[in-house]
Amino acid sequence: MRITLNGADVECDAPTITLLLGDVPIGCAVAVNHEVVPRSVHHTHPVNDGDTVEVVAAVAGG
């Protein structure tokens, strides 16, 4: 299936967020289709064809 990962078109077959991204470290968060997905359900939250997945991290800011 194809998803959009951080703005890029990506081919993948991972059925869950954890399988797609591994363990997401502290300081990072994931949203699927513009909804934040809590870390506690990453291992069960499905990834579907056409999904928009964002992974963000805290970086030095102002």
């Binding site: 470290p25 300081g27 934040v36 963000v56 805290a58 030095a60 800011g61 102002g62």
Partner: protein, 254 residues
């Protein structure tokens, strides 16, 4: 210094710091050690897959809280999404709320800001909005539940200091939450002045990170914030057009 309390939390310093713009990552730790900020701002950006840099670890070491911002957001909707991601990523419901009109001026958009602030408060966030130096808008932000107000002294990164001290004083007089001078600090005297005008804290980023010696400037700002805070509480002499001698006028040798 008596301690700053925002939303019931005691903060151990009246200097907040952003570390974006430092020329080298190894400066983060010495800068933070020199500044000893209560809060350190971070931005949420797309991750390259690896773990975030050691910033969070350093913050833990020095005992500073992380304060995610919504820098770069051009609408209430973007800011809400960013704030929610930040809460999930960092485990804090505090957010420095920024909604700007455009990327050139980086000036806050009062309408979107107020809208986003109201929503975030209802979702349980502790909202510190980066706002125009507008006393009436500041009241409205407090009315919807903001825990502090962060008026700009001058445009972000401009180093122009506090362009309208009268406006900052008016914001301080208008609200009963802490006022944090955000944006525009260029050097130590700017920070001291902000505190003397009645601000409860000062946020600096570029002033430190883009100085020739960031560690030195971090220390200077820490001292200046403390100086300004104490000066405010010490009851400065009134300004007077005429001179007045501090030496005795009587008993002079003729």
């Amino acid at each position: 210094m008596s301690r700053l309390v925002i939303a019931g939390e005691v903060l151990e310093s009246r200097l907040f710091l952003g570390t974006g713009g430092l020329p080298r990552p190894d400066l983060v730790r010495p800068v933070l050690e020199a500044a000893r900020p209560a809060l350190v701002t971070v931005s949420m950006r797309r991750a390259s897959g690896s773990a975030p840099a050691g910033l969070l670890g350093i913050l833990r070491d020095i005992g500073a809280r992380v304060l995610p911002n919504t820098a770069g957001c051009l609408s209430a909707g973007e800011a809400l999404h960013t704030a929610r991601l930040a809460r999930e990523a960092l485990g804090t419901s505090w957010v420095k709320l920024e909604v700007v009109r455009d990327e050139r001026t980086l000036l806050p958009d009062a309408v979107e800001l107020l809208d986003a602030a109201a929503t975030l408060v209802t979702e349980g966030f502790t909202v510190l909005p980066y706002a125009p130096a507008d006393p009436v808008l500041a009241c409205r932000l407090v009315d919807v539940g903001c825990a502090a107000v962060m008026p700009l002294g001058s445009p972000i990164g401009s180093g122009l200091g506090v362009l309208d001290p009268h406006a900052i004083e008016a914001v301080v007089a208008a609200v009963d939450v802490p006022v944090v001078l955000d944006a525009g600090i260029g050097t130590a005297s700017d920070a001291a002045l902000a505190m003397e005008l009645g601000c409860a804290a000062v946020l600096a980023a570029s002033a430190v990170t883009r100085a020739e010696d960031p560690v030195g400037m971090a220390r200077a700002l820490r001292l200046a914030v403390e100086a300004g805070w104490i000066a405010r509480r010490s009851g400065r002499i009134p300004r007077r057009a005429e001179a007045r001698s501090a030496s005795p006028l009587t008993g002079r040798v003729s």
